[in-house]
């Protein structure tokens, strides 16, 4: 099996929703990865579409980048709707 490739599996659950990462499978090629993913991750109507991507092809953020990358958005409360206080008379907005 070590000659096989590790693929990450993404499944779209219902029409209109994003594909979501659900796990991984081993396979000889992408077609087989799709077949294995179908058997493994959609036994109970979980999906209408599957993507597989070789795990080695994924570029991810590193853990030590977490603060420089994500902290800057923490102090930008004005990006959220709840930051803006409107009088009740305005009604739902």
């Amino acid at each position: 099996m070590s000659q096989w490739t590790l693929f990450e599996v993404f499944v779209r659950s219902k029409h209109g929703l994003n594909h979501k990462h659900v796990g991984s499978v081993h396979a000889a090629d992408a077609q087989m990865a799709i077949e294995n993913a179908r058997d493994l991750y959609t036994r109970r109507n979980e999906g209408v579409s599957i993507w597989v991507v070789p795990s080695a092809e994924i570029t991810a953020t590193a853990t030590d980048e977490k603060e420089p990358l994500f902290d800057p958005s923490e102090d930008k409360v004005y990006r959220h709707a709840s930051f803006y206080e409107l009088p009740d008379e305005v009604g739902h907005m």
């Binding site: 099996m1 991984s24 081993h26 058997d39 036994r43 109970r44």
Partner: protein, 329 residues
């Protein structure tokens, strides 16, 4: 429990003040219920213990298909055969979710499977018992999957992210297993003839104690529990989970109209729990050591499956290579 007696390699659990800065930051995260993810720093012993625990859990799912596979061709109706095959396919799936989670720790799937086949890795003691009559399929689903659920429900909150997510998925699917098992027994008890009812009681008599042993040795004999609990890769002690299982199972047993092979089993009003008799721990240790009724046959069947399937895996690689070359040409 599907993972029993998982060695941590730790003699004494360190206090926060005895830890290095990295270890302390790690432990504080766990104490705050923050999940540990694959790329986060973790102590070597945590990584190794988790690999042992998750691989043992995965091996149990895979070996667990064998006692049920025995009944696919013997299921009494087509409906029961379909249900049994669906359940067995789920067990294969659960093994794969868990092997995937284990691989995120840097373990190699082939190497860990080789450890199972060479007897260096354990799997749950329960799967070393034979399944002798059709009621065993009911009793396995009800008692064995039931015991596994008690364990796995709490492992959904385990500290390692990929393991926890695999558990959440597994638990969602597992309740079908227990219900279909109980329904098999209920059907036999309500519509069966005397011989069929006897089969149910016989299956319960044989599987009751081994199911209780699934939770592992009593707390006094679980030297690894303290560290595993501190790391939250175990969330309750063996005895707590065993008691929880008994308390929820006895009323179901009574509803069936069957009994447990334990004369000391009775409700204790004061404790608010069922009391039960002593477990024969020597039997458990013998089975774990490889001397149960089916140990040799189980591992041999697994090894044969891998060896006999080698040509299929090689052919798949050759086929993939050829298709790639054709696409390039």
């Amino acid at each position: 429990m599907y993972a029993q007696m998982v060695e941590t390699g730790v003699k004494k659990v360190k206090g926060l003040d005895e830890m290095s800065a990295e270890e302390r930051a790690f432990q504080e995260k766990i104490d705050a219920e923050i999940k540990i993810e694959p790329k986060n720093w973790m102590p070597d012993a945590y990584r190794k213990t988790l690999i042992r625990q998750i691989s043992q859990h995965a091996h149990s799912e895979v070996v667990g298909m064998l006692p049920e596979g025995n009944w696919v061709t013997r299921a009494p109706t087509f409906k029961r055969k379909l249900q049994l095959m669906a359940k067995i396919q789920d067990e294969a799936g659960h093994g794969l979710y868990l092997y995937s989670a284990m691989e995120t720790l840097g373990a190699d799937r082939d190497e860990e499977i080789e450890k199972l086949h060479s007897g260096r890795a354990k799997y749950s003691s329960i799967f070393n018992y034979p399944t002798l009559n059709w009621a065993d399929m009911g009793a396995v689903g009800w008692l064995v999957d039931g015991a596994a659920i008690v364990n796995q429900v709490v492992l959904q909150r385990t500290s390692y992210g990929p393991y926890s997510r695999a558990m959440i998925r597994i638990c969602k699917e597992e309740s079908f297993h227990q219900r279909q098992g109980y329904e098999i027994l209920l059907h036999m008890m309500q519509h069966g003839n005397d011989a069929q009812k006897e089969m149910v009681q016989d299956a319960i008599n044989r599987l009751w104690w081994p199911a209780l042993m699934m939770f592992g040795p009593s707390d006094a004999d679980s030297p690894n529990s303290a560290q595993s609990m501190a790391w939250k890769i175990k969330r309750h002690t063996n005895d707590e989970l065993r008691q929880r299982f008994i308390d929820q199972t006895v009323p179901q047993l009574e509803f069936l109209g069957c009994t447990a092979p334990d004369p000391e089993l009775k409700w204790n009003e004061e404790r608010g729990h069922y009391d039960f008799g002593d477990i024969q721990w020597q039997e458990f240790y013998d089975v774990i050591a490889g001397h149960g009724p089916c140990n040799r046959e189980r591992v041999e069947t697994r090894r044969k499956a891998i060896d006999d399937g080698a040509w299929v895996r090689e052919a798949a690689v050759a086929h993939a290579k050829k298709k790639k070359q054709q696409a390039a040409a």
